[in-house]
C-alpha cells in the first residue's frame, strides 16, 4: 500500500524504468499523467476528439510494446511525444488516402463533431488563443511552455532543425502577442479554429 502511495512521487523516467522491468502499475501511472496532455497535443493535429482519443490509446499501446527500447538517459516526454508525432503523421497519410476514396455527395448533412476542448476564454485564455494560431504554432508552444522542452528536444520531436523550431516559436509568440494584445490578460475577439500560417510538415 505504501508503495502504491509513493508511485505518484516518482519521476517519469523512474516509472518508465519500472515499466520496462514489467510493472504495469508504473505504466498506468505514466498514462494517467500524460493522457490529457497528449490529448491536447494530438487534438491540434487530428480532426476530432474521438480521433485524438484513439491516437492517445494507440500511442500508449505502442509505447507499452516498445518499452523495452526506452533509454532512461533520455527524457520520457521526448520519447512519448516523438512516438505520438510519428503515429499522427502515419494516421494523416492513411486518412488522406481514404478521404480521396469517399464520394462527397454520399456524406449528406453530417453534424459538426462537438469539441470537448474548452472554447471560451476563461482561466486558460492564453492557451485558447494559442489554439487559434494554427496547428504547427500551437504544437511548438505546447511543447515549449506546456511540456517545458528545450529547443533541441522540440526539434527531435517534430523532426525539424533547431533553427526552424526557433523561427516557428518566434512567429507563434508574435502572433499570440498580436492576438492577446497588450496586458496579456485579456483575449481579443477569439475565433477558435482560425488557423494562422502553417509552417509544419
Amino acid at each position: 500500500m505504501a508503495d502504491h502511495d509513493r508511485i505518484g512521487e516518482r519521476t517519469d523516467e523512474e516509472l518508465a524504468r519500472e515499466a520496462r522491468a514489467g510493472s504495469g502499475r508504473s505504466f498506468e501511472e505514466l498514462a494517467r499523467r500524460y493522457k490529457r496532455r497528449l490529448f491536447v497535443y494530438l487534438r491540434s493535429r487530428v480532426g476530432s476528439d474521438q480521433d485524438a482519443e484513439d491516437m492517445v490509446q494507440d500511442t500508449f499501446l505502442k509505447l507499452y510494446r516498445n518499452i523495452g527500447s526506452y533509454d532512461p538517459a533520455y527524457r520520457f516526454t521526448t520519447w512519448l511525444y516523438t512516438s505520438a508525432n510519428r503515429l499522427a503523421i502515419d494516421s494523416h497519410r492513411k486518412k488522406t488516402v481514404m478521404t480521396a476514396r469517399v464520394d462527397v455527395e454520399d456524406l449528406g448533412d453530417l453534424p459538426e463533431p462537438a469539441s470537448r476542448m474548452p472554447t471560451e476564454a476563461g482561466a486558460s485564455g492564453l492557451w485558447d488563443a494559442a489554439r487559434g494560431l494554427g496547428e504547427s504554432r500551437f504544437r511548438v508552444l505546447w511543447l515549449r511552455y506546456g511540456e517545458d522542452m528545450s529547443i533541441e528536444e522540440i526539434a527531435a520531436v517534430i523532426g525539424r532543425t533547431k533553427l526552424a523550431v526557433r523561427v516557428l516559436l518566434h512567429r507563434a509568440r508574435a502572433a499570440l502577442i498580436e492576438r492577446v494584445g497588450p496586458g496579456m490578460g485579456r483575449v481579443k475577439a477569439l475565433e477558435p479554429g482560425v488557423a494562422g500560417e502553417t509552417v509544419g510538415k
Binding site: F39, V56, Q57, L61, Y64, S69, R116, A123, I177
Partner: protein, 193 residues
C-alpha cells in the same frame, strides 16, 4: 526592418538565454512597439506556464484501456520494428566516439597494408627463376648464332654504302659530260670493306 531584427533578437534571447545585442537593446528602449513586444514576450512564458493547469482541467477525463500487462502478450513486448525502436538518436557510427574509433581503425589497417606491400619486393617463383637461367645459358652457349646476327647487320650497312657510291659516280659522269670537265676519285675504294 530594425524592428523585425530586434524582435527576432528578443525571441532568440528568450529561447537561447543569450543577452540582447547592444543595437537591439538600444532600439527596444527607443521603439515603443518593440518595447511592448519584449515585455509581452517575457510575460508570455510565465503566463502560459501558469495557465497550463487550468487549460488541462478543461479537457474531460477519458479512460485509457489496453494498459494492463495481460492485454499485451509478453512475447510482443520489446519485439519492435527498427523504426519504432529508434530512440531518437543518430545512427551509432555518426556519434563522435564510435566515429573516431572507426577512423583510427581504418587508418591503422591502411598503414599496415601500405607498409606490408612497400617493404616486400615481388619475388620470383622457382619456376620463373629456372626459365630465366635457361634463357641466359642458351644465348651464351651459341656464339655462332650471335656472330651471324652481327654480320647480317653489317652487310646491310655495306650494301647501303655501295648504293650511295653508285649514285655519286653516276652524278659525276653526268657533270663530266655536261660541263666538259674531268672528275677523278682520289682514293679508290678498298675491297675489304
Amino acid at each position: 526592418m530594425l524592428c523585425k531584427i530586434s524582435r527576432w533578437m528578443v525571441s532568440r534571447a528568450e529561447d537561447t538565454g543569450k543577452t540582447l545585442p547592444r543595437f537591439a537593446e538600444r532600439h527596444v528602449k527607443r521603439c515603443g512597439a518593440c518595447r511592448e513586444f519584449a515585455r509581452s514576450s517575457a510575460s508570455l512564458s510565465t503566463g502560459l506556464k501558469a495557465e497550463r493547469a487550468a487549460f488541462l482541467d478543461g479537457v474531460p477525463e477519458f479512460p485509457v484501456r489496453a494498459l494492463a500487462p495481460t492485454e499485451v502478450p509478453a512475447t510482443e513486448r520489446g519485439n519492435v520494428s527498427g523504426a519504432d525502436r529508434r530512440p531518437n538518436r543518430p545512427w551509432p557510427f555518426l556519434r563522435p566516439l564510435p566515429a573516431a574509433a572507426m577512423a583510427v581503425l581504418l587508418i591503422a589497417v591502411g598503414a599496415f597494408v601500405v607498409f606490408r606491400i612497400g617493404r616486400h619486393e615481388p619475388q620470383l617463383s622457382a619456376q620463373d627463376r629456372a626459365a630465366a637461367m635457361a634463357a641466359i645459358k642458351s644465348v651464351s652457349s651459341a656464339p655462332g648464332e650471335l656472330g651471324g646476327v652481327v654480320s647480317e647487320a653489317e652487310s646491310s650497312l655495306d650494301k647501303e654504302r655501295q648504293i650511295l657510291e653508285k649514285s655519286i659516280a653516276s652524278a659525276a659522269e653526268y657533270l663530266q659530260a655536261r660541263l666538259n670537265i674531268k672528275i677523278e676519285r682520289r682514293n679508290p675504294p678498298s675491297k675489304a670493306s
